[in-house]
Symmetry: C2
Subunit: 347 residues, 2 copies
């Protein structure tokens, strides 16, 4: 009669607790208690109700539960770098930690737009998220949104936090130490540093650690070369480092893997072998670059997945009511050794 031949699927109604109770011949109260292991009733009744629920495919409506419990088992993940190289592993770690604990994640990309940010935060609050994690692509930049005085706990990861919030960042000084000490232990003596622009806080943190390690070990310090984060800059920097009259470096600590790649390419073009003549180390351990480089690039990994995981777990504990001291927690980096720095045995 009706035009039922159109492909308009009619979706079956979800089965409710009421349905289960009716089928099992008990009240909804009893049914609820049976399924939640609450209250007192004969084992027989409990099992009968459970069996009915199973048979009907009953699944409790989370909305109703959340409304009552005032807890949604959902958190908001705010970022201004959806889909960037850094926030990706970070988000992966965060969402793993949360999902493992039965918490779902709302993904919100706020770009650089404060209005968009406010909108998202409001929407998340309206949906009664249990907490919020803010992440970014730069440690030294704020998200364009104010997360102070919210009704829920907030954690910052890899982004500039509010003054007395809890934040997780990578320890860039530690990473730089790892890199330079690695070069030193392998016997390289004149270690240069080619890195990104001065506008990044990490550039200064790493440069300082670089100087510290050189001085501690009695090696000559040359001023870091600041430029951009690109391969092209790595290329250029090699020209600067190897054209000059003064003593040329025998190793280069690069601010990221792209620079390192540019450096290696430029060295090859001048007939200098890596790691035969010059040792090169990168930063970020961006695998797709580090592994495609010839030779594969030794690099510093910021452990972003672990950092994200830590942030997620901390938020969960906060949501659970456990207090935590505000402040910035710096997590150590990790060296990933491939072939671009040579090997102790190569002496």
């Amino acid at each position: 009669m009706a035009s039922d031949d159109l492909p308009v699927p009619v979706f079956s109604k979800p089965v409710t607790l009421r349905d289960v109770a009716a089928q099992a011949g008990v009240s909804v109260a009893t049914a609820s208690k049976a399924l939640n292991d609450q209250g007192r009733m004969t084992a027989e009744t409990r099992e009968r109700i459970r069996e009915t629920a199973r048979r009907l495919g009953f699944r409790p409506n989370s909305l109703a539960q959340s409304l009552l419990r005032r807890r949604s088992f959902t958190v908001g993940l705010l970022t201004n770098d959806t889909y960037g190289r850094f926030s990706l592993p970070l988000m992966s770690g965060i969402s793993d930690a949360l999902v493992d604990n039965g918490v779902s994640v709302f993904l919100c990309n706020v770009e650089e737009d404060p209005r968009l940010g406010q909108m998202h935060v409001d929407a998340m609050l309206d949906k009664r998220v249990d907490g919020i994690i803010a992440t970014g692509k730069r440690i030294d930049r704020h998200l364009p949104v104010d997360l102070g005085n919210l009704r829920v706990p907030v954690i910052y990861a890899f982004t500039q936090p509010d003054p007395d919030a809890i934040a997780f960042v990578s320890d860039d000084a530690d990473g730089a130490r790892l890199a330079v000490e690695h070069l030193f232990w392998l016997g390289w003596k004149r270690i240069a540093h080619v890195t990104g622009p001065a506008s990044f806080a990490v550039v200064h943190a790493r440069a300082q650690a670089y100087r510290d390690v050189l001085i501690e070990n009695g090696l000559p310090v040359t001023e870091p070369l600041l430029g951009s984060w690109s391969e092209a800059w790595g290329h250029q920097a090699v020209a600067q480092l190897f054209d000059r009259k003064s003593e040329r470096p025998d190793a280069v600590f690069c601010g990221n893997d792209q620079i390192a790649r540019g450096v290696i390419d430029a060295l090859r073009e001048r007939g200098l072998g890596v790691p035969g003549d010059v040792g090169v180390i990168g930063f970020d351990n961006w695998e797709i670059v580090a592994e495609a480089t010839r030779p594969p690039l030794t690099s510093v990994d910021m452990n972003l997945v672990a950092l994200g995981r830590e942030a997620g777990l901390t938020l969960l504990s906060l949501v659970g009511g456990k207090p935590a001291a505000p402040g910035i927690r710096k997590l150590p980096c990790r060296l990933v050794v491939r072939q671009s720095c040579g090997h102790p045995l190569d002496g």
Copy 2:
């Protein structure tokens, strides 16, 4: 008295419609109607209620609204490639489209684990998502989860769909045509094809289009070289193509940008200039690679952001009750011209 000096923030209670109604001296029913532009009342009453709500910072509880409306303004985004190169722009497009329409996105990474997948789908259903979008990193692989016969509409994007579902994929044949025709129009005559492994469906689709275009234009067809998606393979392929006695190609259509980069590097090492001696074109338009290549790489862009956006909008229309025909929709690609193929004027 109590140990109030511990940093345990006490979060203020949200203000409810009841609070607003009480403050304004009306019933909750009237308050609701005032705020939603429903019902009849004096303009004065309506404005008074609104002002009260504004003053109290009232925000309706989405949970309660969703429960009542049976619609949560939330959709689930399922992927087995969180944080991969393809799903990223895809997800970006999807979430933009949804967020623009006031819909929030649950992000779920199912890896390759069917149990995890089922868990996520169940959780999403429990939270009463309005719909689900499934994305993947390969057009020719299923997500490890069954999305047939769900209570909500499902859209597939860049992943193998269920038989009679709605899916969006890129038109790989179209992309390959664009690439090969571009090379042809620029005057290259002996066009080779270096691509990925035979296990990928796109490899065959593109190879066929490559052959078709060559034949249509009376150019000699050489068998595509199948390998891996890596720079290293690009390198190797150049050896195969240029060491042989028979006529050497004057242009290479590469299966992705990494291969293209390997090809260009290898050509340079043999003293062949790009685009002076050989034209090279990539696929994927992975900007960070394409732009860092010397010379910058002309490449085919699969328009994944647009594809995601389309998928998001279609899901929304489905959720809104509009029927849509099942089937696979192939979206065209786009050529991004940089410098690796030369230029008509260079003739």
